[in-house]
């Protein structure tokens, strides 16, 4: 078996993930390389969910009975864990949402309804990039249609990096918000935060970072990023579906208006007017995803017990190996950086004329799960003139043997359609 420096003890880790034992199509063991879409869940997270529902389930806040107090302590305890995980200055800056998409929409909506100096209107501009996930494009298109603000974006270089050469024309005095992805889910590119944040600060624009593909894979320090908001999603980082996070700077969360209205987010309500609870509750209307927050807390514990530096090193090793091996496959073209430097563990590629659907399907017949399509980042496909890509994406339990299986699978695909 291939030995690479920096690998985790995947034999031990894989025992924690029941889904990885799945056997498909008469005896083929699952090779799960669709981690950028969603990760598998360790036993520890599933146990936390079951334990919550079996023993502590109650609605949170304001309850004086034991179960309500336990549920509240568990829910708020999960917030503490997430705050620590991202090095938030205050736990009250951590808002639980349903997914990263809601987190991103939440910021767009806050700014749409905000007063000066935050207000986005027809005299202002919004900046994103051409490599955003649709969830960081459509909310801004909607905001721009509804307020008249101008939507601008950074283009891409031929090798899959952000083209920041015209940064001073893209981000201007009119810019109110710059929202960009830290690690691209389609290209794998890890973007340079500092240059963008510096320019945004120069013109007084807010910065929102979509860390959906970063939080699961590397140490994330919201203070070091110097952004104003950071969004990510639970299901890609060993957590349950149905939970996302928005971190925001406290003073902004105080100043900005609420989004969803309802129970939990209020201070006091009368028929004619209401006042709102302080953040984070101000942005958490209704019964929150209680069990899902508890599950995310358990996921964070799990990841931290391994260590995010080690997870990152492991994935870097796997990615280096995968890039090297994939480039050996004839007619295979990587869409995105062709080195493992400043890139995450999602690798998109085309394989000659063979359509990604066919690539994915034939790989599936061998038990290898990859994703095919535009990966909710269609502008990237348009930019590179391709209808779709095949994407293999790795995580802390991925092994060099799985990379080998992928490469072998691709050979089979080539023969099949050759």
């Amino acid at each position: 078996m291939t030995q690479l420096p920096g690998l985790l003890d995947t034999e031990a880790i894989r025992k924690d993930f029941p889904a990885l034992d799945r056997v498909l199509h008469d005896g083929k063991k699952l090779v799960y390389l669709d981690n950028a879409a969603t990760s598998q869940k360790p036993r520890q997270v599933l146990d936390a969910l079951t334990e919550y529902y079996e023993r502590h389930n109650a609605n949170v806040h304001r309850g004086v009975h034991v179960l309500a107090e336990e549920a509240t302590a568990l829910y708020e305890g999960a917030r503490d864990k997430v705050a620590e995980f991202i090095n938030a200055p205050s736990r009250d800056e951590v808002i639980f949402t349903k997914n990263a998409s809601e987190s991103l929409n939440l910021v767009a909506n806050m700014l749409g309804w905000a007063d000066e100096p935050y207000k986005v209107d027809h005299e202002t501009e919004i900046v994103i990039t051409e490599m955003e996930h649709h969830s960081n494009i459509v909310p801004w298109q909607l905001l721009s249609q509804r307020t008249g603000a101008k939507l601008k974006w950074f283009g891409l270089t031929d090798d899959g990096r952000l083209d920041l050469s015209n940064i001073d024309e893209v981000i201007t005095e009119k810019t109110k918000i710059v929202s960009f992805v830290l690690v691209s889910n389609i290209l794998g590119t890890h973007n340079p935060v500092e240059a963008i944040v510096r320019r945004a600060q120069e013109v007084g624009a807010l910065v929102l970072i979509d860390a959906s593909q970063a939080a699961p894979h590397m140490p994330l320090d919201v203070q070091a990023l110097q952004a104003d908001f950071v969004a990510f999603t639970g299901h890609k980082m060993c957590g349950p579906t149905g939970i996302g996070v928005l971190w925001g700077r406290q003073e902004l969360l105080e100043d900005l208006p609420p989004f969803l209205g309802g129970g939990e987010m209020i201070e006091t309500v009368s028929m004619s007017s209401s006042t709102y609870a302080p953040a984070p509750h101000k942005f958490e209307a209704g019964t929150p995803p209680i069990a899902q927050a508890v599950g995310l807390g358990a996921a964070v514990d799990y990841l931290q017990s391994i260590g995010m530096e080690k997870v990152q090193a492991h994935e870097h090793a796997i990615t280096s190996y995968a890039v090297k091996r994939l480039l050996e496959v004839p007619d295979l073209k990587i869409i995105g950086p062709v080195t493992a430097e400043d890139r995450g563990a999602a690798i998109s590629f085309t394989l000659g004329d063979i359509h990604p659907h066919d690539v994915g399907q034939v790989l599936d017949e061998q038990g290898i799960a990859v994703r095919v399509g535009h990966h909710c980042a269609r502008p990237v496909c348009l930019r590179y003139g391709i209808p779709a890509t095949t994407r293999a994406s790795f995580y802390l339990y991925s092994t060099p043997a799985e990379v080998d299986a992928l490469v072998e699978g691709l050979e089979h695909v080539r023969n099949f359609f050759g």
Binding site: H355, P356, H357, D358, Q361, V362, V372, G373, H374, C381, P387, A388, F416, F417
Partner: protein, 151 residues
């Protein structure tokens, strides 16, 4: 799902290329980027030609080729019956095992029965058929407005 017949049509598509027609449509499957441009040529109610260009996966390409085989030369009513049968098969989620009667109607197209088990691929198989239906409605609708409603 990749029957030999399907791979054959994919590798050697029948009737591919755009030729003269009465109506042209362009259909896209937005989830995977499969595209087809398709033209129909009628002589009265008889299908004189179905010509097409497109890009996409083996299923969508092979399906267009099979369509060309099956429909060219047929009367529109007969063609609609074939289209209906193919649609039924594709929407069967693998529950229809084509019998002799169906094989008589669909010929090579019965090879797509296996595709119907894969919801993500059914749209690929139907792309050209939906385009044909649309193009026919345009072509015949213009010369015989009475038929338009049924399209």
């Amino acid at each position: 799902m990749y029957q030999e017949v399907i791979l054959d049509h994919y590798k050697h598509p029948h009737g591919r290329g755009l030729r003269d027609g009465d109506a042209e449509v362009h259909h896209v499957n937005p989830t995977c980027g499969d595209e087809i441009t398709l033209r129909v040529k009628y002589e009265g109610t008889r299908i004189a030609d179905v010509s097409y260009e497109g890009q996409g996966c083996s299923i969508s390409q092979a399906s267009a080729s099979v369509l060309n085989d099956l429909l060219v030369g047929k009367d529109v009513t007969e063609a609609q019956r074939i289209q209906g049968t193919f649609l039924e098969l594709m929407q069967s989620k693998g529950r229809i095992e084509p019998d002799d009667a169906m094989e008589e109607i669909l010929e090579d197209a019965v090879a797509f029965a296996g595709v119907s088990k894969y919801p993500a691929r059914v749209k690929c198989a139907l792309l050209s058929w939906m385009a044909w239906k649309d193009a026919t409605a345009q072509a015949l609708g213009e010369s015989e407005p009475a038929e338009r409603k049924s399209a």
